[in-house]
C-alpha cells in the first residue's frame, strides 16, 4: 500500500463533505479523495496513495528536473574539456573534428 502513483485528475465533485474525484493512471481510472489538495484543478497531476491525493505534481519542476538530468552528460563533457591537454587519456574521445562549415581560421575547432 505504500506506492504512490502519479495520475491526472479528470473529474472533481463533492461527496458527503469530501472533495472527491476520478484520476486517470495511464488509462486506468480510479476514485480518489482530493480533500487534501484543494488547489488541484481538472487536468492537474496528483500523487495518489491509498485512494488519497497527497500532493500535486509540479509540472514545471518535473520538466526542470528532466532537463537538468539530460544536460548533465554535457556538463560532464564540458568539465572534462576544460581540463585541457596533458591528461593521460584525451578528455573527449569521440571528437568528430572540424566540420565543413567551420570558419577558415579554425576558430570553433576541437577546443570549443
Amino acid at each position: 500500500m505504500c506506492l504512490g502513483i502519479p495520475g491526472r485528475v479528470i473529474e472533481i465533485r463533492d461527496e458527503a463533505g469530501l472533495r472527491m474525484g476520478r484520476v486517470d493512471f495511464g488509462g486506468v481510472r480510479k476514485e480518489a479523495c482530493l480533500s487534501y489538495v484543494p488547489e488541484v484543478e481538472l487536468g492537474d497531476y496528483v500523487i495518489v496513495h491509498v485512494g488519497f491525493a497527497i500532493s500535486r505534481v509540479d509540472e514545471a519542476e518535473a520538466l526542470r528536473t528532466l532537463e537538468l538530468l539530460s544536460r548533465m552528460g554535457d556538463l560532464v563533457q564540458q568539465e572534462l574539456a576544460t581540463m585541457g591537454p596533458g591528461m593521460i587519456a584525451p578528455a573527449i574521445v569521440d571528437d568528430p573534428g572540424p566540420g565543413p562549415d567551420l570558419p577558415a581560421d579554425g576558430s570553433g575547432g576541437p577546443d570549443r
Binding site: 500500500m1 458527503a16 496513495h49 560532464v76
Partner: protein
C-alpha cells in the same frame, strides 16, 4: 504513463551513473528508507551498478514488514468473529500470524475484504449497519492522512459499527534508532519522498545536524533514486550533512498542511513496537481519547494478545541492515513469497521478497548489466466492480 516513463529513461540513468562514478573517491554506505525505493533499486540492479565500495542498505520502511506479529494475531482474532467484516489493504492479507494469515481465514469463511482506500471500509460500514466493520490501519505517514480521514468520516456519519486496528509507525524515530545503534553503518539517508510529501522535511533537519548525516528527500523512479544517491554522495564527499530535496516535483518543505491537520485531529504520537526492531518510544500513532470508541483493540478485547517470531527468521537484522537475505539460512529454502516465514518476504516491498523476485542467490540467470525500463504497474490499481471496493493494494 506521464511522470513515470520519463523517470525511467535508460540514457539519463547512464548519465547519472557516470556522474556518480566520477565524483566518488571513497566507500560510502547509504540507506534508502522506503520499501518502495528498495523494490526499484533491487529490481533495476541499481545497487550493483554503483562504484565499488558504495553500498545501499535497505531500510525498515515497509509497513507490512514492521507491523508486529501480535498486531497480525489481533487482526486474525478479530477477523475470525462471525459478526465482523474485516477490511485491509491487500498487502496485509498474506502476512503470516502465529498460526495462519488473513487470506487463509477468508478461505475458511471469514468475511475478509480488500479495500484500496480506507474510505471504502467506511462505505462498507455504512451499508452494513448490522455488522461490525474493522479496518486494519497500518502504514507510515503516507497512509495516515487516509486512515485518519476514514475515522473522521465515520465520526461525522455517526457510525458505531466501524473501528480501526491501528498499527501506525513513523519514519524519523526509526532513523534515530538506527543512528543511535552501536552497530550503525549508515552514513547518509535517502528519505522517503511520499512520507515527506505529507510531513515535509523540517523534522529531518535536526537529525541531519545532530548525527552529521546527509538526508536526501528522494522519489521512487530509477532516475529519482540515482539522483538521490548522487546528491547524497556529493554531500558525503564534501563533508556536508544537510537535508536536500531531490523530489522537488512532489514535495514541499512544509509538506501537506491539510493532511497533517487531519492526522493530528485523530491521532496522537506514542510508543510502538516494530517487528524485528522492538519498541521505539514516540514512534507511531494511536487514536486520540476523543476517538477511543473507534479502537478495535478495546472493542474486541484483544489488547492482551502477545506472540513471538519464528526462530529461523532474521527479519530484525534484515530490517536494520545488519544482514542481507543472502545471510539467512531460511531464505529461498524454508522461506519464499509462497511460504513466507517473516514479513520482509511477504510484501513486494520487503527486502527478502525484492531479492527473491530479482532472483538473487537462488540460482537465477545473471542479469545483464544495464538499466532496463520498468514495466508499468497499472495492474495494481485495476478498476473495481461498482461498490465492491476490490483492489490489489
Amino acid at each position: 504513463m506521464k511522470y513515470l516513463d520519463e523517470y525511467r529513461d535508460p540514457v539519463l540513468a547512464r548519465k547519472l551513473l557516470d556522474e556518480i562514478h566520477r565524483i566518488t573517491t571513497r566507500p560510502w554506505t547509504l540507506m534508502e528508507v522506503c520499501g518502495g525505493q528498495t523494490h526499484t533499486i533491487v529490481k533495476q540492479g541499481i545497487d550493483e551498478l554503483l562504484p565499488p565500495g558504495v553500498r545501499m542498505i535497505h531500510g525498515p520502511g515497509c509497513p507490512v514488514c514492521v507491523t508486529p506479529l501480535e498486531q497480525v494475531d489481533k487482526a486474525l482474532a478479530i477477523a475470525a468473529r462471525p459478526d465482523v467484516i474485516f477490511t485491509s489493504y491487500g498487502d496485509m492479507l498474506r502476512v503470516p500470524g502465529s498460526t495462519t494469515d488473513l487470506l487463509s481465514l477468508k478461505a475458511r469463511g471469514a468475511d475478509v475484504r480488500i479495500v484500496y482506500s480506507p474510505l471504502d471500509a467506511v462505505r462498507i460500514a455504512a451499508a452494513n449497519r448490522d455488522r461490525q466493520v474493522v479496518f486494519f490501519a497500518v502504514g507510515f505517514e503516507t497512509t495516515a492522512p487516509a486512515n485518519a480521514m476514514a475515522v473522521w468520516q465515520a465520526a461525522q456519519l455517526g457510525l458505531d459499527n466501524f473501528s480501526v486496528l491501528v498499527s501506525h509507525v513513523l519514519v524519523p524515530p526509526a532513523m534515530i534508532a538506527l543512528l543511535e545503534s552501536p552497530s550503525n553503518q549508515v552514513q547518509a539517508f535517502l528519505a522517503a519522498g511520499h512520507v515527506c510529501a505529507v510531513m515535509g522535511w523540517t523534522e529531518y533537519e535536526p537529525i541531519a545536524a545532530r548525527y552529521h548525516v546527509p538526508i536526501v528527500v528522494t522519489g521512487f523512479e530509477p532516475l529519482d533514486l540515482l539522483e538521490g544517491i548522487l546528491i547524497a554522495i556529493r554531500q558525503l564527499e564534501a563533508g556536508r550533512a544537510e537535508v536536500e530535496n531531490q523530489y522537488v516535483r512532489a514535495v514541499r518543505r512544509e509538506g501537506n498542511r491539510l493532511a497533517q491537520e487531519t492526522v493530528f485531529r485523530v491521532f496522537e504520537i506514542g510508543r510502538r513496537t516494530w517487528r524485528g526492531i522492538g519498541e521505539i518510544p514516540a514512534s507511531g500513532y494511536h487514536l486520540k481519547p476523543a476517538f477511543a470508541r473507534f479502537d478495535a483493540e478495546t472493542k474486541f478485547a484483544v489488547e492482551g494478545i502477545r506472540t513471538r517470531e519464528h526462530p529461523a527468521c532474521i527479519a530484525g537484522a534484515i530490517l536494520t541492515g545488519e544482514k542481507t537475505p543472502l545471510d539467512c539460512t531460511a531464505y529461498g529454502v524454508l522461506c519464499s513469497p509462497q511460504q513466507p516465514l517473516g514479513a520482509p518476504m511477504v510484501s513486494a516491498e520487503g527486502t527478502c521478497a525484492a531479492f527473491f523476485a530479482a532472483g538473487r542467490g537462488i540460482g537465477a540467470p545473471a542479469r545483464p548489466l544495464e538499466i532496463r525500463p520498468l514495466e508499468i504497474r497499472p495492474l495494481e490499481i485495476a478498476p473495481s466492480p461498482a461498490g465492491a471496493a476490490e483492489g490489489t493494494r
